[in-house]
């Protein structure tokens, strides 16, 4: 009896894991999709098209300071 319960639980978990894996491979994840969008740039191309490079494809990185403005002297 106990063995049957364990088997049913095992089968359910195995099905869930396989479904998860299938979903990952066939549907992709949001992160993967976002990364692909950025990597492809705004003008993602069809196989036989040649699009002009845009700012999204190749652009210069920004190296601006993350620092906040100076607060000035205390007194």
């Amino acid at each position: 009896m106990e063995q049957n319960k364990l088997m049913i639980a095992g089968v359910i978990i195995a099905v869930l894991v396989i479904a998860g894996l299938a979903g990952y491979f066939f549907l992709g994840t949001d992160d993967a999709s976002d990364n692909a969008k950025i990597a492809a740039g705004s003008n993602a191309q069809e196989p036989n098209e040649i699009a002009e490079p845009t700012q999204d494809d190749i652009s210069e990185p920004e190296f601006d300071d993350s620092d906040i403005d100076d607060l000035g002297s205390v007194i």
Partner: protein, 285 residues
């Protein structure tokens, strides 16, 4: 039987983690990742600046009290300042961060104006403030190092993300058998500047006493020059890639026109031959 199920389930769990490990290798860091990282770096700098300022405020309040002056106004402003300094550390968005940063700046100004109105010998207090900051150098230095390290990390990640996107774009062209040799040369030149920029950043951090913003040291200027050259190289890479694509388009157009002309000639030839056959006397029966 039990063992078999346990092993199967365990194996499936392990396998399920494999794809996520590989997934990150082929993609570039996203703009969202970088924006989130930048907010963290900004918080580091805010902590450094507010903590340094708070130390100075405490010295001014103590001095005013020692002189028998009413420091309650200064204390209230200092408490508000400390409270806002905590808020900025917990800010969730850039907008929230910026709003609190303005409030902190206004509180710092209120404190300064109140202190100047209250204390006649400001130079004596300034010296005490400097002494206190020197005494707390070690604690402040930890915050400074943390902020500058995370700033460097962010800058290198930005560099890597842009280079990664350029690489993917060039690979797409190469997959279509487009010659990208000149662009690849430029790409390689940019990637070699990563180490150079990293080293120059470290030298600037050593040369500048406090933060890099507003630092006039030669090493900081040298770092800025490398940054400018990297930006310029990226612009050149963009131009170069544009030229490659324009040339390829022209080539494809010329090939297409040539094919049409050849087809025209072939059709004309076929028609001429057909006319010739039609003009010849009817069959040799």
């Amino acid at each position: 039987m039990k063992k078999l199920f346990a092993i199967t389930i365990l194996a499936l769990f392990v396998v399920s983690f494999i794809p996520s490990g590989f997934a990150q290798e082929d993609t570039c860091r996203t703009a969202d990742d970088l924006a989130k990282h930048r907010l963290d770096v900004r918080k580091h700098f805010a902590e450094l600046r507010t903590e340094r300022h708070r130390l100075g405020m405490d010295v001014v309040i103590s001095y005013a009290s020692e002189q028998g002056l009413d420091a309650s106004g200064l204390t209230t402003i200092r408490d508000n300042f400390v409270s806002k300094a905590t808020d900025i550390k917990n800010s969730q968005t850039n907008e929230e961060f910026e709003t609190i940063a303005v409030e902190l700046k206004n509180l710092a100004k209120d404190f300064r104006e109140t202190a100047v109105g209250l204390i006649s010998d400001t130079s004596a207090v300034r010296t005490k403030v400097q002494t206190e900051i020197s005494n707390k150098e070690s604690d402040l230095n930890k915050l400074r190092t943390g902020a500058l390290d995370s700033e460097k990390d962010l800058r290198l990640k930005r560099f890597d993300a842009h280079l990664c996107r350029a690489d993917i774009f060039l690979s797409k062209l190469e997959a279509r058998e487009i010659d990208t040799a000149s662009a690849r040369e430029k790409y390689n030149a940019i990637s070699e500047k990563r180490e150079q920029a990293s080293e120059a950043f470290d030298k600037a951090v050593v040369a500048c006493d406090y933060v890099l913003k507003g630092c006039e040291a030669v090493e900081k200027k040298e770092y800025d020059a490398i940054v400018d050259s990297i930006k310029s190289e990226f612009r050149d890479l963009k131009t170069k890639t544009g030229e490659i694509i324009t040339d390829k388009k022209r080539e494809l157009k010329e090939t297409a026109v040539k094919k049409v002309e050849e087809r025209k000639v072939a059709i004309r030839k076929a028609l001429d031959e057909k006319d010739k056959v039609a003009e010849e006397p009817n069959g040799t029966e």
